[in-house]
């Protein structure tokens, strides 16, 4: 019989390890989420923009002076890379250490729901981290509408989904420069409906996407400019999205953006979509319909109060009924493995960043989850089959036996480690096999390569 502490740690958190005490009740588990609020460790757009202005300034000065000495540019580039890496390190450290990590799991869930990528440079990578700190963490226990608004208007979302280059075809800016062929970009509007709120199966049309794209024009970002809305880019006149009319003001306004997001966030289809996603992520790839319906009802009745959803989820009997139905994604696996061998928050923060990259972040690519780089805005797949592939499993075992040992002191006795990370949930074959390993390293590989450990 699986007890609540195993449910809370393994299914809802990042797993057990030496010295980790798991909550024995849903109330205790829920109380833990508060620890995932933003704090002094959180990276901000303010920091990123300050560094970026400094960088641009250095590049300009170097160019003006003939550009012979590039050392200042290199130093500035290093500084921005370090900033992005420290943000990654902080995120990983918060997951590895600090309770059982239900809050951090939720952070990960919402970060994936509002996917952005790290992109090709350190500033984009840092901005992707900033979205998590500025849009997800502050609203983790609040309302879905607030989180959605914060995510959709975050600079990284606006750059990732090309909103910064979307102009109303009849906007002042487009009419001033007819030679430039400035016009709409549908990307953000489409994903806002298809992925972030209603879901692709809902009842909407290409026309709704197009109208929303028009309504969103004006919403933009430039690192030199604090304004998020530039009326000169906005399409004038009202737009009708899903039967509601917006944009009564003549030149568009951020209030219209707020209003349409509020409505999308409270749409009944959104309740179903989010309820299903939560159940898929935390319970089963093919989720129990009853749970999905309960969550959807709560979403509708509370107008998207996220705490109420977590409360229902944490108490759901389906968590026990579907134990080990899910396969840990590579990030979850790596975090759980670090916890299993006793690596905590401080040990992760003490690693030189390049070591963190080489030993933890980069190996996730071979497991199929390149850090901050999902292949599209739909984020990472959930299905067990997507992760338990020959190449993915081989990469997990390879990392466990080649990289993980370099991150801990003496390797733990595999028999103790088995007890530390799986408690009484280890299967009979695993309990049989582990003591027969010839070396501690092999024992570690057997535990971390087992289905028991890779499922939750």
């Amino acid at each position: 019989m699986v007890g609540y502490s195993e449910i809370s740690a393994i299914r809802l958190g990042y797993g057990l390890g030496p010295g980790i005490t798991a909550p024995a009740s849903a109330a205790e588990l829920i109380a833990e989420i508060a620890a995932s609020a933003p704090d002094s460790r959180s990276i901000s757009m303010e920091q990123i923009e300050a560094l970026r202005l400094e960088y641009v300034d250095i590049v300009r000065k170097t160019r003006e002076s003939g550009g012979a000495d590039r050392s200042a540019i290199q130093a500035a580039r290093k500084k921005s890379t370090l900033m992005a890496r420290v943000a990654d390190q902080t995120r990983l450290a918060r997951a590895v250490g600090g309770g059982v990590g239900f809050g951090e799991r939720l952070v990960q869930f919402w970060a994936d729901h509002f996917t952005v990528t790290g992109g090709s440079n350190a500033f984009n990578a840092a901005m992707a981290s900033a979205l998590v700190e500025e849009a997800i963490r502050p609203h983790l226990t609040g309302s879905f509408a607030d989180m959605m608004y914060a995510a959709e208007t975050h600079p990284r979302m606006l750059t990732y989904l090309n909103q910064v280059r979307s102009f109303g075809p009849h906007s002042v800016a487009a009419r001033k420069r007819p030679d430039k062929n400035l016009g709409l970009n549908e990307n953000l509007a489409r994903e806002m409906i298809e992925l972030h709120s209603l879901g692709v199966d809902a009842d909407y049309t290409q026309k709704d996407v197009r109208q929303l794209a028009k309504l969103l024009t004006g919403l933009t970002y430039n690192f030199r400019d604090q304004r998020r809305f530039r009326p000169t880019m906005a399409e004038p006149g009202p737009e009708t999205v899903l039967g509601h009319s917006y944009g009564v003001s003549r030149w568009g306004s951020i209030r219209d953006v707020r209003a349409v997001i509020e409505d999308l966030a409270r749409h009944p289809a959104t309740a179903n979509h989010i309820a299903r996603k939560l159940a898929v992520h935390f319970v089963a790839d093919d989720p129990p319909q009853n749970l999905v319906e309960r969550l959807a009802v709560i979403f509708r009745e509370t107008e998207g109060n996220l705490s109420a959803l977590y409360d229902e989820l944490a108490r759901a009997p389906e968590l026990t009924g579907h134990f080990r139905a899910k396969v840990r994604q590579p990030f979850d696996f790596v975090v759980a493995a670090l916890r299993a061998v006793g690596v905590g928050h401080d040990e992760i923060m003490a690693l030189p960043p390049q070591q963190l990259i080489a030993r933890v972040i980069r190996p996730m690519t071979a497991m199929g989850q390149k850090w901050q780089m999902p292949r599209g805005p739909d984020g990472w797949p959930e299905a067990a089959e997507a992760w338990a592939t020959p190449q993915g499993l081989a990469a997990r075992i390879d990392w466990s036996t080649r990289q993980l040992p370099k991150l801990v002191g003496p390797l733990p006795d595999p028999r103790k480690m088995l007890q530390d990370c799986l408690a009484d949930t280890a299967s009979e074959p695993l309990a049989w096999a582990v003591p027969k390993a010839e070396t501690a390293l092999e024992g570690l590989g057997v535990v971390l390569g087992s289905a028991d450990f890779n499922r939750r």
């Binding site: 970009n185 549908e186 592939t389 390879d398």
Partner: protein, 392 residues
Amino acid sequence: MLSRRAFIKSTALLGCSAAAHPLLSTIAFAEAPGENRLVVIILRGAMDGMDAFQPYGDPNLRKLRRKLSLGPDQGALDLDGFFALHPDMAGLMPLWQAGELAFAPAVSTPYRDKRSHFDGQDMLEAGTGTDLNLIQQRDGWLNRLLQNMPGVQSETAYSVGLEDMKILDGPAPAKSWAPQTRFRLGAQGQRLLQHVWHDDPLFRAAGEQAIEIVSSGVGTVKEEGGPTRDARALARFSADRLNGATRIATFSISGWDSHANQGRVIGRAMNRLSDAILTLRDGLGKNWQRTTVLAMTEFGRTVRENGSGGTDHGTGGAMLMAGGALRGRRAYGGWPGLAEQDLYADRDLMPLRDIRAYAAWALHDLFAVSRDVLEQSVFPQLDMGDNPRFLA
């Protein structure tokens, strides 16, 4: 398959050598069904077919696109006086000259109107194209093909890369591997893991396959550095397998979702695609003559350029075919035109043919799969129409 009992017995023989263990012996490359080879490349993100194969002979193109698809005037390579090849795929020109490259400029799956990448890709890989709930469309069409091919064993088909390729998902045996995977574990550790995976079908299958592939020495491939390295590694690994018992390989190349800065975005993806095809040709040697490559994408893009030097999600798109087995150097299936009344939903290229019909005729001609099986099982409800005869 070993029985549970025999398995425990074998894992209990802790002193025995790795070579003596039945699951660690070199895999037998059984007789393969025929000599023809098929490579399916899924282009994720919806390639703009009108930019890849620019219909510069269509007088309406210039009205719709001002920065993109500018034809031979801006470096594209003329193909037939009407279409021109995007300059970032210039590496493929020798194939065109040799009759080993062709394309169908206006095709699509039956997917319409919502234009979601993810549903579009699922439908492309499932090959069903019906209104069936996508969650129910678990098997990919390559897997259903295998189910209808005699002599199929696990080496017959490979999906290559880190991604789960739904196109090959299903009950028929197939393998998957990524060329960059490293895996070292002692013989004892392997045996113990096989024991602990035994009761979990998913992990047992994946784990045993991993051990089998590594023990067979297939492991990793080395590919010179550079921006297209990953794509070349996928192609190199595929070619290695296809030179052995494998007859069908599939992998994907992403990076085609060009809402802005299209030239830069898909230029890189085109480099990867063309280098992958050239690597396949080099790696396959004389087997290239028996090989057909189909590069397919989930849908096309808007015919009009958008306001940010890109295009949005559309309907009709292009399919690329390559290989020594091809009757190439031509565009198949006609051109619908770009006049306003010819567009789909006033924004997209009108697809002239179901992309599955080309795939189906390829399977028909390569593997002698009957039309009945193709229209009923592999691609349910498809009408294949006339054979476009794009294979020599």
